[in-house]
Amino acid sequence: MIRTDDARGQILRSIRESLAASVPLDAMAHAPRRHSTHVPPGPSLQAPDLVPRFTEQLSAVGAQWTLVRGEVEAARALRRILSDAGAKRVAGSDAPLVARLLPERLTDLSRDELFICDAGVTTAQWGIAETGTLVLESARERSRLASLVPPMHVALLSTSRICASLADALARVDVASHAVTLITGPSRTSDIELTLVVGVHGPQVVHILLLEEEAQ
């Protein structure tokens, strides 16, 4: 029988004893460097620059993208993207936007049903311009499996949600989410003779549908 309380106490005691033993040695060596851990703010991109920077990075990481204005245009583009890919069974997250754009999406699927879907449609809560990354938060939407299991993932993202950098995005994510997922391009591997293959366990195709606000 393991008493893990004992283990906890013993590990913490061993840590404290080792650190105490190290004090004179630290004094003899150079004192541990005291660098500022403050992150200097980098040059911040202006909002108009963010969309082209983001789409450029999306292309660089092997993701596809379409820029549309307003929900009517978005619904049309979404249908075209799915039909061009020959996707018949489409899993949708529970986001209201997905329901509005694609009323016939499949929801509340069992695991087996999800495994035979051709595509998954979700929204993304944030985009990161610097790296071409999507950020999905579990507190906002049930998007974990729809964005992962089918061979194609279509993500809807408002252009107003694009952050300049990874640091910006980390400062904004909702840490109340039990799962925050960062997605940069399709699933990939180079495990066989370093040959790049996309679509291992996750989607082979990632398509970002960028929604610009309609001019008022």
């Binding site: 060596a29 990354t133 049930r142 992962l148 990874l166 039990h178 925050v180 960062l182 003779e193 291992v200």
Partner: protein, 459 residues
Amino acid sequence: MTFEGGVRAALADVQLRGALRQATTLFGDRRGTALASVPDWEGARERARAIKDETLLHLDRYLEQFTSSAERAGARMHWARDAGEACEIIGRIGEVLGARTVVKSKSMATEEIHLNAALARRGIEPIETDLGEYIIQLAGETPSHIVVPAIHKTKAQIAALFAEKLGIAPTDDAAALTAAARQALRRRFAEADIGISGVNFAVAETGTILILENEGNARLTTSLPRTHIALMGIEKVIPRFADLEVFLQLLPRSGTGQVLTAYQSLLTGVKRRPEDEGPDELHIVLLDNGRSRMLASPVTRQSLACIRCGACLNACPVYRQIGGHAYDSVYPGPIGAILTPQLIGIERAAHLPYASSLCGACRDVCPVKIDIPALLLHLRAQVIEQRAGKSRLLERVAFRCYAAVMARPRLYEWTMRVARILRIVPPLPAWTKWRDLRPLAPRSFREEWRVGLRDEGVS
């Protein structure tokens, strides 16, 4: 096999050396390109190291903070003093749940504790799901590289393996082989009772664990089964959520030369509502297994700053020639040469601190500036300390004589003259076994120098 035997076998394996050269060069080049996109790479390294130093100097406090944050979010915490205890904890969770199969994403910590064998002994089948790990599990081998575990296998070998084990038609197409693995593993994901992962970073402030990957198997492992067990070394903790940024800049660039890997999963406890997606249970196992001892001096402590990127392997002239298996160590390459002796005891890995030319390439590429050569020397000193009896006495006498001669110029000259006349070569079998020792020149440099001066004076 002895280390020497392993090295000889590796050096004779032409195919292995070709694959190693290709991989290590490619990753080295990609890393170089990726660094250029960080405006202040040196600054990022300094910052990351400072964060690690700060954490390690107060590791007890940060571990307790991490524990209470993770528990507040619904995780169950376990503490394991050593490998056996960690296997016991994980095996027990599996037995309580009546688990028959577990899916695993890549984790060096689970390799370190030999978890797969421990699970199999309890009748629980572990299934590796990272493509490279899956290949070597099918082949019954062990990883030879931290980041690319099956680097030593050719496409033809993998095709033959898949044909035998998965019953697919032989193919030399990497995409077709990958698709076959995806297909075979889908079923295993669907039926698995437990998902087991490692942890790249653990945030004390929020109780979040972060897992990086490219394939999506870690996402499946941590979201499909009803129970997720994460195994982490106690050194994985960092203080603040915002600290993740600098490590996310350093790790993918150093490891694979990517700006970011395809996926980062930031997991904080378990699902909040029954209708949420994800496991019902999250168990986090904190593993000591020799790590707390490393805190006892500033030299050894830096081993715990390692973020397991593998850059030192790709840069190391020894690793590039012999690959991972010859080290006979779970962690290969320069980082393995310092970690393994400290984890399992210097007496069981005395060969490792010598598996290096001390060139310092590992230190130059390390994203957290670990002075690996200094650690290697520190460990070599320990090996010598422990060596008892005749060889130690002989070595001591030899160095006393050396010091006596080198400290007295006249004695030095006389000794060298005698050695030259009698053509004495110092008995250094450990050196001359691998290298030529050139015979002494007929005249010493100092004699030449004096003659040269005289000649110049004449002309």
